[in-house]
């Protein structure tokens, strides 16, 4: 069974090589209130509005791009890990993939609903930041857990 939307298996390794450093960077950023790692650079912005200042369209701006870099690395890494084929991507694995994706979206929105209902003030801003990444995180965790569980169930005896 072939799925045209999936990348070859070799991309998975590349995904982890991006995702792991991005996770480390992300944790450092969260721990330092997003100000621990200054990485000033001039970058292109389609739209920029500063807290005190004017709005800019299609212009080059000078700013700290560490959040941008970390977020991009995390999303690209997460997409590569999520949507690369397993070594043997057969119909059962595709089935696990689909049910994990469904599970991830569902759990993500249950968590978001709870956050909507019970988290107020500036903390809700953090909820929105995390929510940008949680679907990917939950999917990767669930899918790999299901793969692990099914691999573990396999007995070693020849004919069981």
């Amino acid at each position: 069974m072939s799925n045209k939307l999936l990348l070859p298996n070799s991309y998975k390794k590349m995904g982890w090589l991006l995702l792991i450093p991005a996770t480390v960077l992300g944790i450092i950023l969260i721990a330092t209130q997003f100000e621990g790692l200054p990485l000033e650079a001039t970058t292109f912005a389609i739209y920029n509005d500063e807290v005190i200042g004017h709005k800019q369209f299609f212009s080059f701006i000078h700013t700290n791009i560490i959040n941008t870099v970390t977020g991009i690395l995390f999303i690209v890494g997460g997409l590569l890990v999520s949507f690369s084929k397993e070594k043997t991507e057969d119909e059962f694995i595709a089935n696990l993939r689909q049910s994990s994706l469904l599970w991830a979206v569902f759990v993500n929105y249950i968590l978001l609903l709870a956050a909507f209902a019970f988290i107020y003030g500036t903390a809700f801003f953090n909820v929105m930041v995390y929510n940008m990444f949680t679907v990917l995180i939950i999917f990767i965790a669930r899918f790999n857990y299901m793969l692990y569980r099914n691999a573990k169930l396999i007995p070693n005896e020849k004919y069981n």
């Binding site: 069974m1 119909e91 059962f92 089935n95 691999a151 396999i154």
Partner: protein
Amino acid sequence: MKNTIKIERAINNLTQEELATKVSVSRQTINAMEANKYVPSTVLALKIAKVFNKPLEQIFILEETD
């Protein structure tokens, strides 16, 4: 749906891995089918029947709940 894959495998002296290779799926898939946790596609069911050289109905059996 029940199946007799495990029995047929023993008769034909095949491991899960060997059967998996013959029908080009992962070992997990054979294991999940034997544990009645996964119902294979028609294509895979036909391939398995072909390996064991038996009619489909002798390997895959409908249950009351199906």
